[in-house]
């Protein structure tokens, strides 16, 4: 019994910390509609800056609390700079581009933090005056945790006062409800956005700084917190402060009690809850449906036609190189080329959902991974030969795509994206925690190709043929009635429905088809590597796919191909030549977003059309 009370209290402390971060995220989203992936990086910077300040300032109350507040303010200023230099220029860009840009910031901050503070974990001092613990129901409970429990409600109270008692706050609330209106009122929107970013970043920084006495500061804090914060914000309802508080409470306590009740599924519990909430309430606990998310008058996506001759020749030339060159290369280079071919198909599968389908998926790696595990499990437990495994991969991925997609495609925008992420995390944690079957973290080893395909070169040609075939098939689908129906429901759900198109069905089947294609890629990857690991389904791999598609350009059919080649090639090269590949990749992404908002293939096409005159 006493144990439960303590557990509940420590759940409250986590909830409180989580709320600090999530509140900043939700306030920023409410006003600017930017899904700020870099919010976790700001949190991490808060922790690092607090460490530096607290350890340099004189010890004592002033040093510690001054350091914490100072770190929060500094992070607020950093957020402000990011807003002014980057985000301000891309408010009109599609949601996903903003996401891509903020992800570039994540990469940059990771390397900068490593350069400044080094790779080792840093342990900060404990808070003066709050070092001890007190006795609650006969057990000891740390004072600092108790203090944290108080911080959340106090910050919530202050924010509510700020939003309801000041003119600025009224404007923020108005902007959250209706952006156009605030513009129409003649309010200085720039100032409003910038100040909101400052506040949101400050809250993230404060959240990070306050962790100093609780846990060590390290380079993984950013991604760890951002997923949790997203979950809280989405469960609460985007833009809703009270919703975020409620959700933080829910998630905090879930963590605390999940460990006691169902230790086996702790990792997945949070995502299960998010999936459940979104299935029942598509806009989170307290969120409101967004008014015409896509903006009725929004610029139309381009028409698709047959590829122009120049592009065909380029494609054929690339293919010729891909076929002729490898026999002259070493094993390593051939493996890299195999991975490139697989990356192209993986990106093409996501592109089908995002481009023609008009939906975002943050969880495409799930289907890649399910394909890989399908093949590996069949090999491990059934002794299936390679071809059977490769056939099973798309089947397994397709079935799960249909299962998960059934829920995902009912939602829209960020909510849909987050639900795909939740399912991917569920799949990941099953692979991670169901050790008896999947081998857990150690993965499944010895997934080797059949003897005839064992030479690297033969396997490469097999992968090339399958990936190319599947990618061209997807391309064909986009030109076929089904692909048109996908675009139809994206362009105008109203019109699609009014000419007998069942938008849900089309999206659902499209999701399943894309999943099956990702499964082919995953299966090939498994046999290529000889092993599968839970990381195949991890968030980083989903993000890779997103980056490839966005880099190439969402609204061009060659986009995913160009993007996959550019991204994989670039990453491969950067990793080889420099330790700072994240920094450079991040900068490249940011610059691309700023100067090539249509992606590489999109920009090339715009050039081409400008020179040859539009149809």
């Amino acid at each position: 019994m006493e144990n439960l009370v303590l557990q509940a209290l420590s759940g409250l402390a986590s909830a409180s910390s989580l709320f600090l971060v999530a509140s900043g995220l939700t306030v920023i989203f409410g006003v600017s509609r930017v899904v700020n992936f870099a919010h976790g990086s700001l949190y991490m910077l808060g922790a690092y800056l607090a460490y530096s300040l607290v350890t340099t300032l004189p010890r004592g109350h002033l040093g510690f609390w001054g350091g914490v507040i100072g770190a929060a303010v500094l992070v607020g200023l950093i957020g402000l700079v990011v807003e002014v230099l980057l985000l301000r220029r891309i408010y009109r860009a599609p949601e996903l581009f903003q996401l891509l840009a903020t992800f570039g910031v994540v990469l940059i901050v990771q390397d900068l933090a490593q350069m400044i503070w080094g790779p080792q974990d840093l342990l900060g001092p404990r808070a003066p005056g709050l070092r001890g613990s007190i006795e609650i129901v006969g057990m000891r409970f740390p004072l600092y945790e108790l203090f944290l429990i108080g911080v959340g409600p106090v910050v919530l109270g202050l924010l509510v006062l700020l939003f309801h008692r000041t003119r600025w706050g009224t404007l923020v609330r108005a902007a959250t409800q209706d952006r156009e209106m605030v513009g129409a009122l003649g309010v200085n929107q720039r100032m409003l956005f910038t100040s909101v970013f400052f506040l949101g970043s400050l809250l993230a920084g404060l959240g990070g700084a306050l962790q100093l006495p609780r846990e060590s500061v390290n380079l993984h804090m950013d991604l760890a917190i951002i997923t949790e914060a997203f979950v809280v914000v989405v469960v609460g309802g985007l833009g809703s402060l009270t919703g975020a508080a409620l959700a933080a409470l829910l998630i905090g306590e879930l963590h605390a009690f999940g460990i006691l009740i169902v230790p086996k599924i702790t990792l997945v519990l949070v995502f299960l809850v998010m999936a459940l909430v979104l299935v029942v309430r598509p806009h989170g606990l307290l969120g409101k449906p967004e008014a015409a998310a896509r903006g009725g008058q929004g610029s139309a996506e381009p028409v698709i036609g047959p590829a122009p001759p120049a592009l065909r020749w380029l494609g054929l030339a690339t293919l010729a190189v891909a076929v002729v060159l490898p026999p002259f290369l070493g094993d390593y280079a051939v493996s890299v080329l195999t991975e490139l071919a697989i990356a192209v198909l993986f990106a093409a599968s996501l592109h089908l959902i995002m481009g023609p389908g008009g939906m975002a998926s943050f969880g495409n790696a799930a289907y890649f991974g399910i394909g890989a595990y399908g093949a590996a499990l069949a090999a491990q437990w059934l002794g299936a030969p390679m071809l059977a495994g490769l056939a099973l991969a798309p089947l397994a991925a397709g079935v799960f795509g249909l299962l998960f997609g059934y829920f995902c495609v009912r939602l829209s925008g960020v909510y849909a994206a987050m639900l795909t992420l939740a399912f991917a995390q569920i799949a990941w944690s099953v692979a991670f925690q169901w050790v008896e079957v999947t081998g857990g973290d150690n993965g499944i080893l010895g997934v080797w190709p059949s003897a005839w395909a064992a030479p690297k070169l033969v396997y490469y040609y097999l992968a090339l043929a399958l990936c190319l075939g599947a990618t061209l098939f997807l391309r064909r689908v986009v030109h076929a009635p089904f692909g048109y129906a996908l675009r139809a429901q994206r362009d105008s759900a109203l019109r699609a429905e009014a000419i007998g198109i069942d938008a849900f069905r089309i999206r659902w089947l499209g999701f399943g088809l894309a999943a099956a294609a990702a499964g082919v890629a995953g299966g090939l990857f498994a046999y290529g590597k000889g092993s599968v690991f839970p990381t195949y389904m991890g968030i980083p791999r989903s993000v890779d796919a997103l980056l490839m598609v966005l880099l190439g350009g969402v609204q061009t059919l060659s986009g995913p191909i160009v993007g996959a080649l550019a991204f994989t090639g670039l990453q491969e090269q950067l990793v080889r030549i420099t330790d700072l590949w994240r920094l450079i990749l991040g900068c490249i992404i940011v610059l691309l977003v700023l100067f090539f908002p249509q992606g590489l293939a999109g920009a090339a096409r715009a050039r081409w059309e400008a020179r040859h005159g539009d149809a």
Binding site: A480, F482, A485, L494, I499, G500, A615
Partner: protein, 252 residues
């Protein structure tokens, strides 16, 4: 038998009683105009007829069959074509492809994964566009079309499944006066030839009084007059609703 029979249709949004128990019917080949000032409930009424909104009360029958509460796509398959007050077309497709989509859907061929759309139902789509004077625009993307042309595309789409009933919400908005008259004349001609019942709303009184066989007047959700154009024009209640605008007296 009447193509469309509507009885006691009602819809409220919160406190706003947008449509309050209206009844009427449309015969095959008839042009029926639904007019009324802004916010009278015309679009709301249309939305209930094609299934986009579920009525609070009342019934809608198509060729004697109860269709109340069915999904728009089901109602479309039963033969109801519609154009929107604010045009809704597929902006990333050409004019021709937009019409092809309606035809492909009508023929239930949208599941195809292999044959390119370019070669499917192109001829009938072209013929429809030809009929509506849009043949020259066939290859242009809908995303860059002038508003008046979009209205024509919508009409072509709506005619693609050989509808029994055509619902047209302000079909000539955004067009030049000349164009309006010719488009409505064409619509009337098609309707008579194919026995399509047409229900349309319109703010242009020249169009209404020039082409409607019968007129319904809606005001704040209620039908206040119904009848032949001449009778409606003479109706004092109608004059009162349109008082000051001169719209009714000004026509012809």
């Amino acid at each position: 038998m009447a193509t469309l029979e509507v009885a006691g249709l009602e819809k409220s949004f919160g406190g706003v009683r947008a449509v309050q128990g209206i009844s009427f019917s449309v015969r095959p080949g008839e042009m029926l105009a639904l007019i009324g000032p802004n916010g009278a409930g015309k679009s709301t009424c249309f939305n209930m007829l094609n299934g986009q909104l579920r009525p609070d009360a009342g019934s809608v029958r198509l060729l004697g069959r109860e269709i109340t509460g069915m999904a728009p796509r089901t109602i479309w398959r039963l033969g109801v074509g519609r154009t929107f007050q604010i045009t809704a077309t597929f902006g990333s497709m050409t004019v021709l492809e937009n019409v092809q989509m309606a035809l492909l859907s009508h023929h239930r061929r949208l599941g195809g994964l292999w044959r390119p759309v370019a070669r499917m139902d192109a001829a009938p789509a072209r013929a429809l566009l030809e009929r509506l004077g849009m043949a020259e625009q066939a290859a242009r993307p809908c995303g860059i079309l002038a508003y008046g042309d979009l209205k024509r595309v919508e009409l072509a789409i709506a005619l693609a499944n050989q509808p029994k009933l055509l619902l047209m919400d302000e079909p000539t908005a955004g067009m030049a006066p000349q164009e309006r008259v010719s488009l409505m004349a064409l619509t009337a001609q098609i309707a008579r030839e194919s026995g399509i019942a047409v229900l349309f709303t319109e703010h242009d009184m020249d169009v209404v009084f020039g082409h409607a066989d019968r007129i319904l007047v809606l005001d704040r959700g209620r039908l206040i007059a119904e009848g032949a154009p001449a009778a409606v024009r003479a109706d004092p209640k109608v004059r009162e609703v349109y008082l000051g605008s001169g719209a009714v007296t000004g026509a012809h």
